[in-house]
């Protein structure tokens, strides 16, 4: 090989080596946790708490009056204690001593009062949660304002809510809401502007400091967090549009923590040295909703409006095998609308009399039910059904699950057509289209709340337009007695009596089968073993993203200081020396160019 070519090749090799070397070291500063956000829509964060309450953003930045322990039971947060008057009209919260915002200003009862005023008057997304302390006001964007005297603050540590009528849901919705700093947001019109992250103040363990759209959201540790300054200096949320890229980043060490990993990838990640993989149930309930209208939108008869047909469908499905095959053990089989790991003020609302599975797997009995319902087999099938599901929401596991449902229904001669739609089209078809709908079944989910009213009200009541266009009760289940029970539940403040109401609702729903419960979601979570201190379990069920992690534990997460290396552990690598690499690459390019021109001159001379 000629001399000139050798030099050029050597320089190119040097340059590539330098470029590649920069990838061999983990480019991370110490004490930083990088969290991959893949399935959560990262862009739904204009960082304006009155608009879209993006969970990871607010949960880390703004604390509530109360929190939840890892078992989903209420515990003090900003409030150290509270009292509800026997008539249910007065709620008194006492704040902890010495609370401070991240800028050192004290957190007082004035901040609490201000918060509810802001959300009532400026947030069309959230104002309706606190009607007992509101009055109509046409001057605000929401049409409501805080009633005079609804919130009193006799001293900086005490805040008192005065309700016009008892409300069983008020405690959770008020005490579980993020408290905003008055001195920061006062005077800001949040209907028109977003907070400035460079100056924002927070009460949580971390303060949002930088947001690069589509790329990352950076939090700095809050030295004034009441639980003590976090061990980590920063948490960085790195946005990935696809979970595959996020998982690759997790394996290479570019990110250190990831939730909501597709269940089918759990096994692969478990075999990666240095990664800890865990499962934890969150608060999401996945179910099939039946269209209960007698006819579809095209006028054709709707077989699933018949209870026996619905029961037959339930009995045709070997749910545990379907779920195992598609989710690989990352699930908890469901049998009722209330999620078992959600507790209402320490009490379980699950109805233990409902069997698991809800209906036994028995294809012979299912076939008989269908025959008795007037759907015998003709030309190899009884009838055709459609099932709508959202593309991407359930991943390949969800699609596989429905394919298995399709196969099992074939056994009883029901022909099921799966209709996959992208999110907006699916939402339109399932929820926003006026009844009767154009589908027989739909795959749906609901993120439960620590107040049992949510699942009961939205899944199975027909109150206040809940079965009309936009209503969550998409199947049109309309049971007057269930409606009465839901209203009773909203107005019963006695905890035991309230729990009994919701257990009764679950029992009725099990009998009527407007929805077929599939499973309660179990999240697959993975993190780099060099980090310790994560506590799994329902952390803050008001904020969905952290459903399977007690997010407050992030304040205690730290990096393990390794003294020995094993095949299973990873060490904190030195930061990449970009300066040296830059110099090497530039030198390599310069030498290559010089060699080329020297070679040309030599050739011309000869």
């Amino acid at each position: 090989m000629k001399g000139k070519k050798k030099i050029v090749l050597a320089c190119c090799f040097l340059a590539l080596t330098a470029l590649g070397m920069s990838g061999l070291t983990a480019a991370q500063q110490p004490n930083v946790l990088v969290v991959a956000l893949a399935t959560v829509q990262p862009e739904m964060t204009d960082l304006n708490p009155t608009k879209m309450l993006t969970s990871y953003y607010t949960a880390l930045a703004y604390l509530n009056l109360i929190g939840w322990d890892k078992d989903g039971k209420v515990e003090p947060a900003l409030a150290q204690s509270w009292n509800i008057s026997p008539d249910g009209l007065t709620y008194t919260f006492t704040l902890r001593d010495g609370l401070k915002w991240s800028d050192g200003q004290p957190i007082t009862s004035e901040d609490v009062a201000f918060t509810f005023k802001v959300f009532t008057e400026q947030s069309e997304f959230w104002y309706y949660q606190w009607t007992p302390i509101q009055v109509a006001d046409s001057k605000t964007i929401t049409g409501f304002a805080l009633r005079d005297g609804a919130i009193t603050t006799p001293d900086p540590k005490t805040v008192i809510f005065h309700l016009t009528a008892p409300s069983a849901t008020f405690f959770i919705y008020a005490a579980g809401w993020c408290i905003l700093p008055k001195h920061y947001y006062e005077g800001m019109d949040l209907t028109k502007q977003n907070p400035d992250l460079s100056t924002i103040v927070a009460s949580g363990p971390f303060v949002p400091r930088q947001y690069i759209p589509g790329d990352r959201l950076v939090y700095d540790a809050n030295p004034n967090y009441y639980g003590g300054k976090p061990a980590l200096d920063q948490i960085i949320f790195k946005f990935y549009r696809d979970s595959t890229a996020a998982e690759v980043a997790l394996q290479t060490g570019e990110v250190n923590y990831m939730q909501d990993i597709p269940p089918q990838d759990a096994t692969t990640l478990r075999n990666v040295p240095g990664l800890q993989v865990a499962n934890e149930q969150n608060q999401i309930n996945i179910f099939i909703v039946f269209n209960l209208y007698p006819k579809l939108a095209d006028g054709s008869a709707n077989p699933v409006s018949n209870l026996n047909v619905r029961k037959a469908i339930a009995m045709s499905l070997d749910l545990s095998n379907i779920l195992n095959a598609s989710l690989g053990g990352n699930y908890k089989q469901a049998n009722q609308i209330q999620v078992p790991n959600m507790y209402y003020l320490g009490k379980s609302v699950t109805n233990s009399s409902i069997p698991l599975p809800e209906y036994p797997y028995d294809t012979a009995a299912a076939a008989k039910l269908l025959d008795d319902a007037g759907y015998p087999v003709k030309d190899g099938k009884r009838f055709s059904l459609t099932l709508v599901m959202r593309l991407g929401r359930w991943g390949t596991a969800g699609y596989k699950m429905m394919q298995l449902v399709q196969s099992m229904l074939k056994v009883v001669k029901i022909d099921l057509q799966l209709i996959l739609m992208e999110t907006t089209s699916a939402m339109q078809s399932i929820y926003r289209a006026a009844p009767p709908k154009d589908w027989n079944m739909a795959l749906a989910s609901i993120s439960s709340s620590p107040d049992p009213d949510v699942n009961a009200y939205f899944m199975v009541s027909s109150l206040a337009g809940n079965i009309g266009p936009g209503g969550f009760n998409a199947g049109g289940y309309d049971n007057a007695f269930v409606n009465q029970l839901v209203i009773l539940g909203q107005n019963t403040t006695d905890v035991d009596k309230r729990v009994a109401v919701y257990q009764r609702i679950s029992g009725i729903v099990h009998q009527d089968l407007p929805v077929l419960e599939l499973y309660y979601q179990t999240e697959v979570i993975a993190w780099n073993k060099k980090y310790q201190g994560f506590i799994l379990g329902l952390g803050n069920p008001m904020h969905d993203y952290w459903g399977a992690l007690k997010y407050q534990s992030l304040s205690q997460v730290s990096i393990v200081q390794e003294t020995t290396t094993t095949s299973e552990t990873t060490t904190t690598a030195a930061p990449t020396d970009y300066t040296t690499i830059s110099v090497v690459v530039v030198l390599a390019v310069v030498v290559a160019v010089l060699a080329y021109f020297m070679g040309r001159r030599t050739k011309k001379a000869t």
């Binding site: 470029l19 829509q41 759209p213 790329d215 939402m427």
Partner: protein, 320 residues
Amino acid sequence: MGLGSYIGRRLTIAVGLIFVVATLNFAILHIAPGGPEAVLLQNPRITPQARVLILKSFGLDKPLHEQYLLYLKGLLTGNWGTSYFYLQPSFDVIAQRIPATLLLMIPTLLLTISLGVLLGVFSSRKPFSLLDRAISSFAFFFYSMPAFWLGFVLLTIFALFFRVLPAGGMTSVTATTFNFFDYARHLVLPMMTLTLINVANFALLVRSSMIEVLDQNYIVTARGKGLTEQMILYRHALRNGLLPTVTMIGLFVGFILQGAMLTETVFSWPGLGLLTFDSIFRRDYPIVLSLLFIFSTMIILSNLITDIIYGFLDPRITYD
């Protein structure tokens, strides 16, 4: 007709075309099932009264024809609406993403054209030789691959197996200051994906064009004069062989935008492609309509510019 008249006529047509495309974009977006309310209002806890308020705050309660007129007026006055999700003017949201897209598109364009031309020239030297067949096979192989699939393959090979390149993003997660090589490292995979898929267009076009040119009498004359093969190829043949490539560049702007959408999704590159992808699914009408307007204008104008440049490059072309 002189150049000035030609440009004037083409610009007039371009304006009309842009108007038609803008109208079609509006119509198609609103015909598509579902709307922003399906995403904005997916929280079931939002009451019916609140839903009305939310839709009103975004102007979605207005009749469609009124929304269309407001949209046209906005295009003309530079007010492209406010994003439903960012709560910022669409123009600002898009402007934030433009640098990332330019950073991906310009190097890709340059590399694709350079590599494509080089491969095309090498191929054309000895048609149907082993080298020619290898280059054509290489080109077709990558041309037939879906962009997102190729992206995942490269990600797996270089980021996961060899760990020499990052898994996504535009900079290292903890980068606090600008570093050229950090950007360069992150650029490699998305750029490689787009280049490999699109290089075939140029390689095959240049190849066939060069084969035709190399058959011309003046090339035979040049050989007869004793010029080196290198000089014949690059000094005499390539200038004429590149003419169809100029046209291709105008079309390529559209291809690369389309490819960028998928590539940016795979590599989480925070550019316009990713913004388009997300905004379409969210039905963020102001953003989608603004982006479609920008893209369609870019494609129409780039084709116009290409046609004009073509006239300068080829004296046989007249502006009639």
